[in-house]
Symmetry: C2
Subunit: 276 residues, 2 copies
Amino acid sequence: MNTEQLYRQIRLKKSFLCIGLDPEPGKMPEKLRNAEYPLFEFNRQILAATHHLAVACKPNTAFYESHGTHGWKQLELTIAHIREYYPDLFVIADAKRGDIGNTSKKYAETFFSLLQADAVTVAPYMGSDSVLPFLDYPGKWVVVLALTSNQGAEDFQFLSASNAERLFETVLRKSSGWGNSGNMMFVVGATRASMLVKVREIVPDHFLLIPGVGAQGGDLDEVARYGMNAHCGLLVNSSRGIIHADSTERFALVAGEKAADLQLQMSRILAEKGLV
Amino acid sequence: MNTEQLYRQIRLKKSFLCIGLDPEPGKMPEKLRNAEYPLFEFNRQILAATHHLAVACKPNTAFYESHGTHGWKQLELTIAHIREYYPDLFVIADAKRGDIGNTSKKYAETFFSLLQADAVTVAPYMGSDSVLPFLDYPGKWVVVLALTSNQGAEDFQFLSASNAERLFETVLRKSSGWGNSGNMMFVVGATRASMLVKVREIVPDHFLLIPGVGAQGGDLDEVARYGMNAHCGLLVNSSRGIIHADSTERFALVAGEKAADLQLQMSRILAEKGLV
């Protein structure tokens, strides 16, 4: 999916919502836990209830790998199901990979050719050759971690270099030069919304993937105020706050309500900005 | 496997070799490529030919994930096979994971509980809570990326902070405080052997996992000169230089020869240091 197609979906759905598909069996109704493919079946019902409210979804690979081969199979089934039924959804494999070039090339094959995701998240620590192989796929995107929403972000991402630039700023500045705003996005945690001003000075045109709204404490209006650009330029993710808002057999219904709440706020924000 | 058990294997085998199990079907003999489980069958033969020459092995997850569910299955089979036949081998899952705490916990489950690896490599960019969940498993190890062997390492790892410390040094200093030399190791690329002096000032006691000897151009004597501590403290990895040194049906035999060459050098170095 290219930039224009993604913006079209944002305007059409009046939403810049990304739904984190991070299913935890312990938070599912028992009947579903005992299904042959509980993660897939859960996702299938979540998607049916929410797909029209979101423009993107983001399965985090950890929640599948932790079930071994059977989990990996369900990640494949989930993305194949989205490809078949919801071709309007942008699929981000939240994998946070990154390795030497030779190996990153294998990860790019995995997530783009094999799993058919639109985008994959990548950690920047190993530098350009760990990111470049993901840019060899036309129409695909790499999402580079810049400023994350967790406490540990303080440990290294805010380190000031001798040129007074903080590490996350250097990551944004350098890595934005490896691709362009049509094949690269950046992760910026919603719990640090005020930092978005600085982020937008460095990457005014790129999409930002904002995790941490909801369970992790971020605020949607703040994110939009500081992070939105003239075309929107945001994908805001909510995972647990939507998919595990309810653990009974009403989970999909409640997920639909939670997603609708966010979509309504987004619709208002987009209208205020004159984007819809 | 704990520190003392690992040192015992190093003295016993007169080796600190780690074999990178990164199998590529295109570099295998045709007969093997057509097997039901080519990656596993390849690894099985490599292990049979080399296990007595190495103290560790390191499957990189990318080489399995790129074959989807079928690849993941073969990673499981490979580690289960090692657990059954070669309990003296230390298994490092080279996964380079790292996510928010909640998610890193899932990765720790995956690699330690499910796959039964001894250690997993982790990227430090997201900080302490992305690493700490891996330290909750007694007898297991986390291997933190500090200084990698690729060209892209220049992009961020050498950035100088205002306190004149470079990023990889800050990573070593801070993250070494999250664990201890009995549950944490560091990746330091062999192509930067002279940097090992600085590394050893910060982490004198920790094991260092050194990739990049062989195909990536590192030199074993240099690595030992600058990186070895009083107990050895090194695991030196070679992947392609051993496992894909030959692509005919003689591949395992040749791998055994290549591993024996390295083990012989290591044996000499350990003797010179009075460690065996």
